[in-house]
């Protein structure tokens, strides 16, 4: 090392706290013998004014270029001593803390000799480390006060308005030609929410008229570059007609979810009048349901182990909403058509006609299978009083929370029938004549029973968008097991991604209802506004650096880093660190196959010097 190392060591008595259990003068004398140490002293309280003055004066007097304080814990006191160093013109990263209170005097109160020896060893290790320290620079990166919101459902629109109201410029990108998302197809809302359009329309109008919001319909983000504060996104019209480059400080992902297509389940692709939950909602809205005398809902259709593993949370409540609206409004909801000059109720929603074009983002493959089954006249299933009978086949009703449970009670009052089934014996949907049948195992009676119905609604789960992987790769953020976007921490950072400046809300994150989506949207907007309001992000000084001579471009570091802060440049085939994203954990450095990564301030040399110093302590 060409630099002349001049270390000063300040050892603290902390009153009696250290001095009472460790021989501080002996440690000080020992420190003076260590390589590079040109000055060592002890203070009653190093953190007191005169202690700090002592540090500053001696930096100047002895021309110290490294300072060690052996006292309490860096977790509370490092900033104080670093400040003193800075005031005396020494870079704060040339300061070393040695903990001889929490880690020594306080935990070895009855072994003064051994505690003193330990304190000496710790000081020796600190001195070895200090000699190898290098000054570091902290930098700030400016943040563009604008945001890109991807997805124009309730979540995306709420986040956009929230940010725009705070004064930030927002670009809202929606791939369809209309704002609103899934709510557009809903007939009514549970929780007494009433008409969805009554809540949706004012929101859409607010978004469209807001001076700070630019809406881009029929558009998608197709490329992304940059990092928090300075993302450069390419947004393209879906027909490819237009392309736009924009620079934004933050990004909010609100791409929502799609409904599961229950192909191969419960006769969905075999029989007329078997609908999934979204089709049912839409046909309610359009008032095109078939004849409703007896209706069956089958819960968990495709979820909880059938096609996806999770519970979609809201389908129980949504099904009860459906059951009750059938009971209350069946006359109004049925479709009518005029046949031979007479109006009559639509009998059938044909398998091939169910594909309503206005249900967003549908990948439909349907096999029309042999329809001809045994033709037998069906017995009338309608209850005697001429009302409607609704049966909900379920694996346990999940109407979570205070209000939803009341909703369940209400459904019971309205005589919705609940029949439980187990995954081992699921109901079977069949057809007899032009009636649908549901054959099920009655758990209490222990017999098989058969119910004739006009319509079967399959309560299908919300599923991750099919293109979410593509988007997640563009954003460099992870997806969870089931393809939904995965937050940084389920409890502590529920709307953040690990990658700074990108946030998630709504059903893009997992099954949720409107209330929850809006809550998340407000949260995401609030989180996103933090760096934008501050105007800069403080880049960590202690980041990784890559020695490109040693790097082979194997991408191990890229796969290790949870922050997408290190990646192999496709042009040079060498790893590059984005300093503002790096948090300084050093996991990449400890895993690099070629030893090409140096973690600043925790270099291998510094760590090894500490270990070596201890290993050589045997005789001390």
């Amino acid at each position: 090392m060409s630099e002349d190392i001049r270390i000063g060591v300040f050892i603290c008595h902390c009153g009696h706290n250290i001095g009472g259990f460790v021989d501080v003068p002996a440690v000080t004398e020992y420190a003076k013998t260590l390589p590079g140490v040109v000055f060592a002293t002890h203070n009653l309280y190093t953190c007191a004014d005169d202690g700090l003055r002592c540090i500053k004066d001696n930096i100047k007097e002895h021309n110290l270029n490294r300072v060690i304080v052996a006292s309490c814990t860096p977790r509370t006191h490092a900033p104080l001593f670093q400040g003193a160093c800075q005031e005396a013109g020494l870079n704060k990263y040339l300061f070393t803390f040695v903990n001889i209170r929490e880690h020594c005097s306080w935990v070895h109160m009855k072994e003064k000799e051994n505690a003193t020896k330990k304190a000496k060893d710790l000081v020796k290790m600190g001195v070895a480390r200090a000699a190898l320290l290098a000054p570091q620079q902290e930098s700030r990166v400016p943040v563009e006060p604008s945001s890109l919101v991807i997805g124009g459902g309730v979540a995306g629109m709420t986040a956009a308005v929230s940010l725009a109201d705070k004064g930030f410029q927002v670009t809202l990108v929606e791939k369809e030609n209309e704002l609103g998302g899934m709510v557009l197809i809903l007939y009514n809302l549970y929780d007494g929410g009433g008409d969805p359009m009554a809540m949706l329309k004012p929101l859409v109008e607010k978004v469209q008229s807001h001076p700070n919001i630019r809406v881009m319909l029929k558009s998608r983000m197709t490329a992304l570059d940059g990092y928090v504060g300075n993302f450069r996104a390419t947004v393209q019209r879906t027909d490819g007609s237009q392309e736009l480059q924009l620079t934004v400080g933050t990004i909010i992902v609100a791409t929502g979810a799609i409904d599961l297509m229950p192909e191969g389940l419960y006769g969905y692709d075999l029989y007329d009048n078997v609908l999934n939950l979204t089709e049912f909602e839409l046909l309610c809205k359009k008032k095109e349901l078939p004849k409703l005398k007896s209706v069956a809902f089958i819960q968990c259709a495709g979820s909880r182990g059938q096609k996806v593993s999770y519970c979609s949370r809201i389908c129980c409540t949504v099904a009860l909403k459906g059951a009750m609206k059938i009971i209350d409004n069946h006359e109004e909801l049925m479709g009518r058509q005029v046949v031979d000059g007479k109006e009559q109720v639509v009998e059938k929603i044909r398998v091939e006609e169910k594909a309503a074009e206005d249900i967003a983002d549908r990948r439909r493959r349907r096999r029309r299978m042999d329809e001809e089954r045994e033709e037998r006249p069906a017995a009338a299933a309608a209850p005697a009083d001429g009302g409607v009978e609704v049966t909900v086949f379920n694996r346990g009703i999940t109407t979570y929370g205070v209000d939803h449970e009341l909703y369940y009670n209400k459904a019971r009052e309205k005589r919705v029938r609940f029949v439980r089934f187990t995954p081992e014996r699921i109901p079977v949907v069949g057809r007899e004549g032009d009636k649908l049948t549901v054959t099920y195992w009655h758990e209490t009676l222990k017999t098989e029973r058969k119910l004739q119905v006009d319509m079967v609604v399959l309560s299908t789960p919300q599923m991750a968008q099919p293109d979410s992987r593509e988007l997640s790769q563009m954003l460099k953020v992870p997806l969870g097991q089931e393809g939904f976007f995965l937050e940084a921490h389920v409890k502590l950072r529920p709307v953040d991604f690990a990658t700074d400046g990108i946030f998630v809300c709504g059903t893009a994150h997992g099954p949720a209802d409107i209330t929850e989506s809006v809550e998340q949207a407000e949260a995401a907007a609030s989180r996103a506004s933090i760096p934008m309001m501050r105007g800069y992000v403080q880049a960590e000084a202690l980041t990784s650096t890559v020695n490109s001579d040693l790097c082979t471009g194997c991408r191990t570091c890229e796969f290790t880093c949870p922050y997408s802060a290190i990646a192999v440049d496709p042009k040079t085939q060498k790893a590059v660190v984005t300093d503002v994203l790096c948090k300084g954990c050093g996991t990449c450095a400890a895993g690099c196959p070629r030893g090409a990564i140096t973690m600043r301030h925790y270099t291998s040399q510094q760590i090894e010097a500490e270990i070596k110093a201890f290993a050589e302590c045997r005789e001390a």
């Binding site: 991408r555 954990c585 050093g586 196959p593 302590c617």
Partner: protein
């Protein structure tokens, strides 16, 4: 051995275990004086090679501590620590250094646990006695082989990508079954360990395959397979014959240390 005082090095992550140690202090929990602490920001900073090196430097025990799984300040750093240390400890425990490396999770609120863990580890090392490295050449050879195994770029590559491939999926969008990935990792570990054992057991003079099999306790057929790979890597060369048996010479500097 009555006056044996174990010399133990602990790597403590800043956010959990170091804070846990601080809390032990604030609570005046007493534990043995044998531990010396190296602070790192994350337990993920701890390279298994450095842990092996620490033992090679003559210390009696090494303990690595970090945040509990799912509580890592850096999200997933400790997943990597867990994988790395689990494999390291497995190999260490096959050598005379058995029991001298430990991994523990200690949170910032677990002062009592920190003290208990340190007492327990100190007692363990005290019972094991001083490091055998000074007197037992076989222990040193075995430890060198472990250290070199973890220096292997191939093993480090597979270890580093483990979580990405099993949890986030490959660049093609499919995920590897953890069981398959684990199997692949084990195969690489076994092979790299075998090659490191060959290098460190061969000595400086040329040796035959049967002799290598005897020294390393690896079946001769496997030795032959490894030697052919190692010849391509220029780590060994053919150095004549002993009767009908070919003699192999390990290149100087083939082992890292």
């Amino acid at each position: 051995m009555a006056d044996f005082e174990p010399r133990i090095l602990g790597f403590l992550c800043n956010w959990c275990s170091y804070a846990g140690a601080d809390l032990a202090g604030v609570s005046r929990m007493q534990y043995p004086t044998n531990l010396r602490v190296v602070r790192v920001m994350c337990s993920g900073r701890v390279d298994p090679v450095v842990v092996a090196d620490t033992l090679l430097k003559g210390l009696d025990g090494v303990i690595v501590t970090g945040c509990h799984i799912n509580d890592c300040h850096y999200i997933s750093g400790n997943f990597h620590t867990q994988k790395r240390m689990q494999l390291l400890i497995e190999l260490i425990d096959q050598t005379p250094m058995r029991g001298r490396v430990r991994l523990e999770w200690v949170s910032a609120s677990e002062g009592t646990r920190f003290a208990a863990v340190m007492k327990d580890f100190t007692d363990t090392i005290r019972a094991l006695g001083p490091t055998p490295l000074g007197t037992d050449q076989a222990a040193r050879t075995a430890l060198l082989a472990v250290r070199d195994t973890f220096s292997s770029p191939h093993l480090r590559n597979v270890m580093g990508k483990y979580f990405h491939l099993t949890e986030r999926g490959t660049v093609y969008g499919w995920k590897l079954e953890p069981a398959r990935m684990e199997k692949a990792l084990r195969e690489v570990l076994r092979a790299e360990h075998a090659r490191a054992l060959i290098i460190h057991n061969a000595g400086t003079a040329p040796v035959t395959v049967p002799r290598l099999a005897e020294l390393t306790r690896i079946p001769a057929a496997e030795i032959v397979r490894h030697l052919s790979v190692m010849m391509k890597q220029s780590k060994v060369s053919l150095a004549g014959h002993d009767g009908a048996d070919p003699l192999f010479q390990v290149a100087p500097g083939a082992g890292v240390g």
